[in-house]
Point group: C2
Amino acid sequence: MVQSSYRKVKEEVFHLKRLTLKPKCLDVMAGGLVVVLNAVYAQQNDIYTGYRVILRRNRRELTAMVDLSNDLVKAGEIGLFEEVSKALGGPAHGAVELELTSRPQSIEYIKAKLDGHTLSTPQIRTIIDDTMGNRLSEGELASFMTACYIRGMNEDEVVGLTQSIVATGETLKIGKSPILDKHCIGGVAGNRTSMVLVPIVAAAGCYIPKTSSRAITSAAGTADVMETLCQVSLPIRDMEKQVRSIGGCIVWGGAINLAAADDKLIKVRNPLSLDPKGVLLSSILAKKKSVGAQYCVIDIPVGRGVKLNDMTEARSMARDFISLGKRLGITIESLITNGEDPIGNGIGPSLECRDVLAVLEGSGPHDLRDKSCQLAGTLLELSGKAKKGAGYAIAASMLDNGKALAKFKQIVEWQGGDARKLNSHSVPIGSCHHRIIATRSGRVSHLDNKLLSRIARACGAPLDRGAGVYLHMEKGDMVKAGAPLMDLYAESEGKLEVALKVFNTYEAVEMEKVVLDSLRE
Amino acid sequence: MVQSSYRKVKEEVFHLKRLTLKPKCLDVMAGGLVVVLNAVYAQQNDIYTGYRVILRRNRRELTAMVDLSNDLVKAGEIGLFEEVSKALGGPAHGAVELELTSRPQSIEYIKAKLDGHTLSTPQIRTIIDDTMGNRLSEGELASFMTACYIRGMNEDEVVGLTQSIVATGETLKIGKSPILDKHCIGGVAGNRTSMVLVPIVAAAGCYIPKTSSRAITSAAGTADVMETLCQVSLPIRDMEKQVRSIGGCIVWGGAINLAAADDKLIKVRNPLSLDPKGVLLSSILAKKKSVGAQYCVIDIPVGRGVKLNDMTEARSMARDFISLGKRLGITIESLITNGEDPIGNGIGPSLECRDVLAVLEGSGPHDLRDKSCQLAGTLLELSGKAKKGAGYAIAASMLDNGKALAKFKQIVEWQGGDARKLNSHSVPIGSCHHRIIATRSGRVSHLDNKLLSRIARACGAPLDRGAGVYLHMEKGDMVKAGAPLMDLYAESEGKLEVALKVFNTYEAVEMEKVVLDSLRE
């Protein structure tokens, strides 16, 4: 076995020079803070690709990385991409002063992590600050994520990372108690429990500043579903005021600057789908911490086709959340739930919204009602609003007595929607429709979350709000030949046809020994 | 301790679509194969940042990565940076067909390496092929390098990587024997042994197809020094013919396509100065293997201010080279040398060239002569051209009997130079000159390679061929007040002044208890 590496003498960059350069605007986004210098001119000035420079113009200053070109810019010029040009006050202004700067301190800390050392909270904080200041390249950040993945992170590091991420963004100050929150690890189609849970706990006298995501690869995120009824991009102070006044909100997290570093880290985690456990935990907990949550319930779906399909790992993650919550001052309960098949009947923003409203009206899909009551009940018990064991019943009563529906309508109105005539049938769905029927009888043995999401996306979801899939059966049901399996909704016949092709290509619905076929109605 | 990661369900990308897009040329280099799609249009088509696409136009095809923009391109358009536009046949042509492609196989192998598995040679070969085909992002490659650094590489992996790198480029076929080569780990100013060693061993009847590098952060690379006399960018077949005919060449490795993957890997290794040991060894050995070397000597300088400053690590590296050489069919001897201070008197292309010519003329700096004879002697013994213990004397005789000088002139002539009036005084040096004298007496205790290189660079080296530093003393010398320490040469008084400032800022020459000063002549 070859040893891991030769020790290297620390290379320091000594530089005296400042250069004054003529800007040349390159009307293109570079996707980062990069400037272009003439290759020969740069070499003469001891500047190489990847060097970091401080740029100054008037009183603006930023750090960027150097790229070299033979033709794009001449000696004495500096090529500015849109991001840099904008940050320096636009293309109209004068000369740019450039000064070489040394490698950021973080690089030493990242190398220490590579070498197996544990990082202190101030060291982690420096890495996060340099990340936010664009002082680390994609490769350097990828290297850090890789090191976190291979070396692992101890609890102190995860806590330090969480606190550092929280410190990069704004924090919510509700000034009331108890403040609750909820998070789901994701992957289950139609899993819109937040929209049921938020009005339940708010109606019960709690405060829940819920931020949700939009769909990335699924057919709908909670923010997409809520947006079929009202605004989801609120200024942070409006969100604060709303929660203080009526107990809850359901907004898009992407529109507000909470835990800002997290977005940058997610972008880096993506390429290899690495998700180092410590970073994943920090990412989630930073969002909870930045809204001021005191009590939080985590939904961890387990099963074929979702992120986790192993109970041992799910239990380990559940325990990690609870333990880290204690360190961060959040009382957490983790629920490991069945993530095998979709929740509710609808998949797609408006169809899922109809399910949510039906549950709030006291009827609706039983699995969505049941899961929402379990999560809400847990939160009520954690916060002391319900005695141990009594949470579920209180949550269910809020659905049955209409208080949760009234609270939901209040939330919709506060977020600029019109709740006067709102009910589970009033939400418009796609004008084109196609029913898929079972060609033979049999028992439904599997409904695939990912493939059903794919079909709903082919229908046009999430951008076409009314598009998606409506399921007529669930896992375990006996279905007879000729009975409806699902309805597809879309805004155009063309999209419906594409969705049918997707349906016919993959086996989204598995039945015991039954061959499925699709017939146009 | 939190476990290293949760297992993740493998995410596969299913895609049916092909899109036909209108090209929009972005007259900028992207530094990689990247295309820009309209963000909304991309989402509608299930395409996300970082997805890989195959692009086709006429019969050209390439793989690129997707970036998204809201304003740069419209729906149905594809933004092409210069590299992509060129690869598709230039801006004048028609529509571009885009097809989504799955993640390259390498990603699984990189993740396996992260998880501590040993990679097979075919797996490593796939990673190198995907690297050459631009199918891996900067982040993914950085992640691979980080994994190689943390996990280490066993000998099988290093051999596999070396063979894979060799396979990406051309190989030299001299058709003669013995074929020799030499490599230096680097970091010592003025260390121009190759230019002495090549003519010695060629004059002794061996074949040595020497490729060298240009200066990156030093004041001169061997290619820069040789270029003061003749061409160093030769077509690979001319190089082959020259070595077959006269036994040797001294050319710039960057101009020929040997071990092509190595350049890409070096670019990735740079950001964190990682240099995973296995990759470093592969990188060097691939170059030796691709020229067909049978016998090779490796110069490993050790000391303050060079890459290695620890004898244990130097010995370990020396052994690794020998052991890997056996596996690759190259007989290697490693020499651990003193890298504390510069070799020869000159630092800068022409000044170093004068040293080399003086040694070839039978005089010159004794340390350059001695080291060159040691390295050349070792090669002669390895190849059987000299008996064990007789190599040094044979090498020295080649310098004293003029055969090495004659061979060197032959090499210069073959590479397009004029060797008729060539001698150690004929090489022109900078017209501006300044002498630095000792202000007090004392013994020279340290001459710093890096700082002296920095002074020579401030003088204008390596681009101004005649610029640089000429040392009047070496480590250990007793210097009297008023005696010359060094001469600075430059093409302009301005550069001379900058170099003097650098000299006055750092302590490049350390003397026992002696304060240095600089006076203008």
